[in-house]
Symmetry: C2
Subunit: 288 residues, 2 copies
């Protein structure tokens, strides 16, 4: 059996009892290590599980998938993913390969950031399409995430922004020279995401577009959701650009139309002035 097991979001003990039992019985256990991270590393997980883990980076999952699946028809192999196993495309690919090779598979689900963001008090069914915000470079500054946020806000929906992760990336020079030297991992902070978003807002103003988002739009910054030291901050986009929520991973929400109960929850995570951009609409909901 090939098991895809979610690890949840915090530390080693956020795995489910079922998932832990499976890990202990498998012949090989892979740890996917490029789409997300826990607050603890491979060593802590190995210690807690009492067994060795094989680190699976993007290259291995994309190029050596058959190696990962090898023998899973006669013994048990597990593939561990931070959060829930179905956040990233490549894991569908593993499932398809398993099925084509006649290998049975099973999924052991866990929390993912997509539902755990509910901890800030925004209702999950009020979220529109999730967007990704990538690190801009000097020559590549895509703005498509802004248009998706705008579309969601036009419908009154909140937007969860997943922030970029760069793990095992090569510099252009090392890539061209074929040197397997990797840059240090980078994780986008809420402040960095907010700055990029403010830059897009500014660009749109210069094109005389009606701004769908302003410096006063109420946002929520989240860090290490599900961990003991998780941090949640609600406030204006302007505030987000200046906040320091500490170690990764970070996510950011741009709010849409807010129900009074959602506003009450956001107050738990806000300074008194943080929500001053909110205005009540005719139907007794709030927008900013």
């Amino acid at each position: 059996m090939f098991y895809l097991i979610g690890l949840g979001l915090g530390d080693a003990k956020d795995i489910t009892v079922k998932g832990l039992e499976v890990i202990k019985q498998c012949s090989r256990v892979y740890l996917e290590a490029y789409t997300s991270i826990l607050t603890v590393g491979k060593d802590a997980l190995e210690k807690y599980y009492g067994r060795e883990l094989i680190l699976a980076d993007r290259d291995m999952v994309e190029q050596e998938a058959d190696e990962i699946l090898k023998g899973a028809d006669v013994s048990d192999v597990a593939f561990l993913v931070v959060g829930d196993p179905f956040g990233a495309t490549t894991h569908s690919d593993l499932v398809l390969r398993a099925v084509n090779a006649g290998i049975k598979y099973r999924v052991i689900h866990n929390a993912s950031i997509l539902n755990a963001v509910g901890c800030c008090g925004l209702q999950l069914y009020n979220f529109g399409e999730t967007v990704s915000i990538v690190f801009w470079t000097d020559s590549w500054k895509p703005e498509s995430f802004y248009d998706k946020i705008k579309k969601n806000r036009d419908m009154g929906m909140h937007t969860l922004c997943l922030l970029d992760i760069k793990v095992k990336e090569q510099s252009m020079e090392n890539l061209m020279r074929g040197r397997k030297v990797y840059e240090p991992p980078r994780f986008m902070s809420v402040a960095q995401a907010a700055e990029q978003l403010l830059e897009v807002v500014q660009n749109r103003r210069e094109r005389a577009e009606e701004p769908a988002i302003t410096e006063n739009t109420v946002c929520v910054g989240l860090a290490r959701v599900g961990a003991d030291d998780q941090a949640v901050r609600a406030g204006s986009l302007h505030e987000m650009a200046a906040c320091d929520l500490g170690a990764p991973l970070h996510s950011m929400i741009i709010t849409g139309r807010l129900h009074p109960l959602e506003v009450d929850m956001l107050k738990l995570f806000s300074s008194p002035e943080g929500l001053s951009g909110l205005k009540m609409t005719d139907s007794s909901t709030y927008v900013s």
Copy 2:
């Protein structure tokens, strides 16, 4: 400390190790029993946890919240929720009451249907707003869910439909007579949801509206997601209306624009004809 603990979606062992440890140390443990269900009941959970659970129905959570929170400032009290704790509004309400009473709280997340539906191979970031489909009565047949699905499809997004649950409902007669006699629990099946949706499609045709959804629109029916006997079926809306996916809980997805990899995954859960409604668009994605 007041703990909100997600139980995940399958059975007793889908709780996280962290959640289980907390349950064992609490002075009182409540089990929320009206927004969702596991494949096992209270007895099985009590046996597995080795302790008594207090069943919390809607009345108790809405009217006796202070009773639930009592003493949580000096000892530990847990409130267990199927899936993740932040699916339903009332749980924000519990958090706000706790904070107002000076009681600290913590959330232990778990899988919810909102992320576990990824098991069918549809990409989670291609989902728009989640909708609820409620049981129609002879005199009350709301169609608003259709318009939300249409809006999502217009943008190419998939729609997760959460299907109605009626637990501890009173008949109109018993309600008026003040008799605390409850109807048997009811859980909407994929077939029932598909039938209601087809009826709306028919109504819109009679009003000469361009149909956003037809009998051939590709849908996914899911039952008992995360459990050993989970069932996933992909096919036309027409097929969904005739399928029997067995015991609750059920959910249904109305697809939007499909990536080829999503189509490959859906084929795992479909008859050869099941996806015949799909047509390729110019950009090499599929719609139905």
